[in-house]
């Protein structure tokens, strides 16, 4: 009986050690938002920087809230997200070294073509939100602590409204899924322009409000602090951050468009 158990114990150990893949020389783990991946930008840009820097990047696309948490726990080497205040807090608390702004676009409000709340053409997001709340037309919120959700909360605060009631639906899903739900419900929602352009063709909704001063959506990249987590691949992460400041990177970001519309605007140093 004893020998039998010894044999049995060996099996998993052997199998697991066979599973441990040989470590690749320069692996960078990047947590990023669903909007950068859903928009299709990474499909274009990732092969370019992997080849230019001779690194392998594992992209983990999650909401901004979770991306920051992965960084705070030292589970990734670099984060690329869009929630400026949360990012600055991340750096201030010593989890990241510095925030480098790499690109921006803006948020827009989309809704049913009939626009029952009557916000079409408004430029002030807070005013548009207040109008929607007053009409009690359905508004779909990400509700997931993502960058877009944080922006939405800021706008509600500015409008001095605490959104609640049957018209306010928090879905707790990624941007693409949220747009689909809003489409099915003929509802209003806040969306980053990148995702909106990528999804526009399949959505029954229309862009109704854009261009307000507080609708800027800026993307920052932060290397996770090697002082706090000695294990992180800081050298390669920093090379990646430096690469995003090169003319080559700017050209790719500026050149990425959907249906002839540019999705992101690179930030020159």
């Amino acid at each position: 009986m004893k020998r039998y158990f010894a044999n049995l114990l060996c099996l998993p150990v052997l199998l697991l050690s066979a599973l441990a893949t040989a470590g690749e020389p320069a692996l960078v783990r990047m947590a990023t938002t669903t909007s950068t991946e859903n928009s299709g930008l990474f499909t274009v840009i990732q092969p370019v920087f992997e080849q230019a820097l001779d690194i392998r990047v594992h992209v983990i696309a999650v909401g901004t809230g979770k991306a920051l948490e992965l960084g705070r726990r030292g589970d990734v080497d670099v984060i690329l997200v869009h929630a400026r205040e949360a990012e600055e807090a991340f750096v201030k608390d010593g989890y990241g070294l510095a925030r480098h702004e790499i690109m921006y676009n803006d948020f827009v409000i989309v809704g049913p073509p009939g626009d029952p709340a009557g916000v079409r053409g408004m430029r002030d997001a807070a005013k548009a939100f207040a109008t929607i709340a007053e009409s009690a037309e359905i508004f779909v919120s990400r509700g997931d602590e993502s960058g877009t959700h944080k922006k939405e909360n800021t706008i509600w605060q500015k409008a001095a409204i605490l959104p609640q009631g049957g018209w306010y639906r928090q879905v707790g899903q990624g941007m693409g899924k949220t747009l689909q739900i809003a489409g099915e419900l003929a509802a209003y929602t806040l969306v980053d322009r990148g995702t909106w352009l990528a999804y526009r063709a399949n959505s029954p909704l229309q862009l109704l409000v854009s261009g307000g001063a507080d609708m800027k959506n800026s993307y920052g990249i932060i290397a996770v602090s090697p002082e706090r987590f000695p294990d992180v691949n800081y050298a390669a992460a920093q090379r990646l951050i430096d690469w995003f400041a090169t003319p080559e990177a700017h050209a790719i970001i500026a050149g990425y468009s959907v249906d002839g519309e540019q999705l992101f605007y690179p930030v020159a140093k």
Binding site: M1, Y4, N7, L16, L19, H58, V59, R73, Y199, F229
Partner: protein, 233 residues
């Protein structure tokens, strides 16, 4: 309805166009889940056998415990494995998070209770005299165990099929500990989840059909070992 049929047609085209990325995803799914079941099953069978064979205090509580654990949500297992292997967690130094190995470990934990509960039911139904006769005839305990395993092989195959079905289709744990990394830890269920959020329904349906087809082939092979599938006469 129109979009459903269009998506299905498109999914057939994708499957037979030899898309490499698609096949990497399929390979990841099956290699992870097959490894998990191969590691988990021998342990589970031994535990189940001991529960059916020995009499000790707390045995029935243990049986009930394994049965209850079958209902554990995959995300809860995923979260637990994540917290253990996170670099801030107790086993963070192993650097296993977001790798195939952590996905395998998650799926082992997921399938184990199911394997134990179902194979225990098989052993429980076995005739104790099979064991006693083997031992009387001079078989070593491991030899007698193998005889018993052969005797209840249909029940154990059912356990294997159910366990494999549970993990090949689960999305919560793989998403959490694998990270859905393209070309590495993206498997069929996490890819379906992603493609659905992106509105790429054709791709999602194609992947769903691959999963079903390959599971059918695998089960067909196992059915071969099930014999004729009729009652003993």
């Amino acid at each position: 309805m129109d979009s459903l049929s269009a998506a299905t047609a498109e999914s057939f085209r994708l499957l037979f166009s030899g898309d490499v990325a698609l096949w990497v995803i399929i390979f990841t799914s099956f290699s992870v889940s097959l490894k998990a079941i191969l590691v988990a099953a021998p342990f589970a069978f031994v535990v189940a056998f001991l529960m059916a064979h020995l009499r000790y205090p707390g045995r029935r509580a243990m049986i009930a415990g394994f049965s209850a654990l079958q209902s554990i949500p995959a995300v809860v297992v995923g979260l637990t494995v994540y917290l253990v292997f996170s670099r801030s967690g107790p086993l963070g130094d192993l650097k296993l998070l977001f790798t195939h190995t952590s996905m395998v470990i998650g799926q082992i934990l997921l399938s184990f209770p199911l394997l134990v509960a179902l194979s225990h039911a098989a052993f429980q139904a076995a005739d104790r005299r099979v064991w006693e006769t083997s031992v009387t005839l001079g078989a070593t305990p491991s030899r007698a165990f193998m005889t018993l395993v052969h005797e209840v092989r249909f029940g154990l195959t059912t356990a294997l099929i159910a366990g494999f079905g549970r993990i090949i289709a689960e999305v919560g744990c793989s998403m959490m500990v694998g990270g859905n990394i393209l070309g590495y830890t993206r498997n069929i269920p996490t890819a379906i989840a992603l493609e659905t959020t992106k509105g790429e329904f054709a791709q999602a349906i194609a992947l769903g059909m691959v999963l079903l087809t390959l599971a059918l082939i695998l089960n067909g092979m196992l059915a071969f070992f099930q014999g004729r599938g009729v009652m003993k006469s």
